[in-house]
Symmetry: C2
Amino acid sequence: MPVTLKDVAQKLDLSITTVSRALAGYSDVAAATRQRVLSTAEEMGYVPNVTARHLRQQRTDTIGFIIPSEGPRFSDPFFNELMAGLGNEAAAHEFDVLVSIHVPGVEEEAAYRRMVYGRRVDGVVIVRIRHDDWRIRFLQQEAFPFVCFGRSEVPGDYPYIGVDGTLGMYLLTRHFIESGHQRIAYIAAPPHFFFATDRKAGFRQALAEAGIPLEKELEILGDLTQQGGYLAMKELLSRFPSADTKPTAIAACNDLMALGAMAAIQDAGLDVGEDIAVGGFDDIPPAAHSHPPLTTVRQPIYQIGAQVMRTLVQLVQHEPLAQRHIVLEPELVIRKSG
Amino acid sequence: MPVTLKDVAQKLDLSITTVSRALAGYSDVAAATRQRVLSTAEEMGYVPNVTARHLRQQRTDTIGFIIPSEGPRFSDPFFNELMAGLGNEAAAHEFDVLVSIHVPGVEEEAAYRRMVYGRRVDGVVIVRIRHDDWRIRFLQQEAFPFVCFGRSEVPGDYPYIGVDGTLGMYLLTRHFIESGHQRIAYIAAPPHFFFATDRKAGFRQALAEAGIPLEKELEILGDLTQQGGYLAMKELLSRFPSADTKPTAIAACNDLMALGAMAAIQDAGLDVGEDIAVGGFDDIPPAAHSHPPLTTVRQPIYQIGAQVMRTLVQLVQHEPLAQRHIVLEPELVIRKSG
DNA sequence: TTGAAAGCGCTAACAC
DNA sequence: GTGTTAGCGCTTTCAA
């Protein structure tokens, strides 16, 4: 059985109150008493019951993070990086992170309700923002603290941190154009994601600026997974069998799909970087280690995760926020793939 | 302000107890009363305060998972897969997962103490078992529920689930030998890990069985990261510059290092699978998508994670365990890399 | 400087 | 069937 305040108080023949105050470092405790309490508590192995403290203080020092997975077997290095950023920063503030994984839908909704109404956590992190995201509406309506990774068009003055997806994809596409590419394909993300629209706009903007007509057949949808990128690329290659219509550069909405596309190109006996250039978005760790290394738009996922957590902690502690909205400039990282 | 039992009780002019019992589905509540309670609670948006319930019931329906990271920027798909398995299974039992990330050391130890003594969670998952693992000793001593991913030599009848690492690495090495390789290098894991010893034994066993003398220079240490595998391979290549002493096959203790080794081989202008065969251990998702796809020893991380969580939930709910120790047979997955 | 008492929201033993 | 009461372990007024 764990040692409680009561145990320590009984042993010292003091009241629970005094022990509590001594431990909390209140100044209205005699120095001698404090010493006795501290050493006895230490010696008895007293550790406060976190749950009791939560109930009393009406806060849990815990942040909720519901990972939206597409299918049960999610496996996206993006979330790994993000989790690292969130987790480390949380630990630095002595906060915990409560993680759930849910496919968007009724279960996800139930998970949010339990977290919010059940006062299970003090705030939540929202990622992979959707158009007209119900999560944002819900949390705003409940006045529950949250911070978004990425922008959204849902009105309101809630905090978000992200990179300018339009600019990022614009930079990548322009890089392709400047390298002499004219037939550039785009592997898009499901359109219900905000960043899908965001990034695609950058792609089209770069084409328009260069006077390259938009060709619908060169835009194809992927599901953000590596497998999805692979399939999309296969489809593109079969759409354009002849050498003079085949795309010479591929911009993928995220790195995972870009890596899948690379595999498809190589399976077709073509050389990535030579025959077909490939670029992605995110700069997840495997991007630097692929063969050839992937050209991509860097989004500092780890740092953004840390910043999101920092902001959220400030928010739940009612500290003033320096900035509610942070839009970082993405950086084009040119490697061997294109 | 969230709706409490008291609010519902007041509105219905009932006692808190009756409301609580009606909601919990006790049979000693009049059917009519139950109906009134249910509909009013629903309508008022009542959701139980999880923290209060936890305090009262002396359990949290939460499982702790402290990820041991080597350095702050951990990025290992292994944990991603594992998290998915743990998280989905936890959700199926209406359990939550509390995640922390800590570099092994004093902070990690403090995190365990807070979780255990603070009764923050009902049980914990232990991964990447170390030799003479203090976590296992500590949890056993405190009689705190835990389940290990992987075996250990710490005595005691605690539950673990894992694959036979010796057999797995033996199968991979034997495969290399049967393919005609004689000079096989091994990229080892830091020896404080139990599985490092485990797997290396399989490597040596296969060599011994084939009468291939053990050459210390062909064994090199890596740190389990992709970068570590890359550096280890570079070192191996520089150790054996001449074509007739160069290793023709590389067995890496995990996939991440195998992928790094592949990159180093390719950077040296050699062909993976042709000039040098490469094999790993784990079968993390990127292994199937690398170029060439990685030959590896499959460890069903997702399923093991789910099984670990299932066992842990049974444990904390005092359900009988069918098996306390599960050692799965690993499966050799032969792909293009070797 | 210390202690008594209240109460966070919930459940459960025990009356009635 | 329903209500009263106690208490999980903690913090924090308020008195003494």
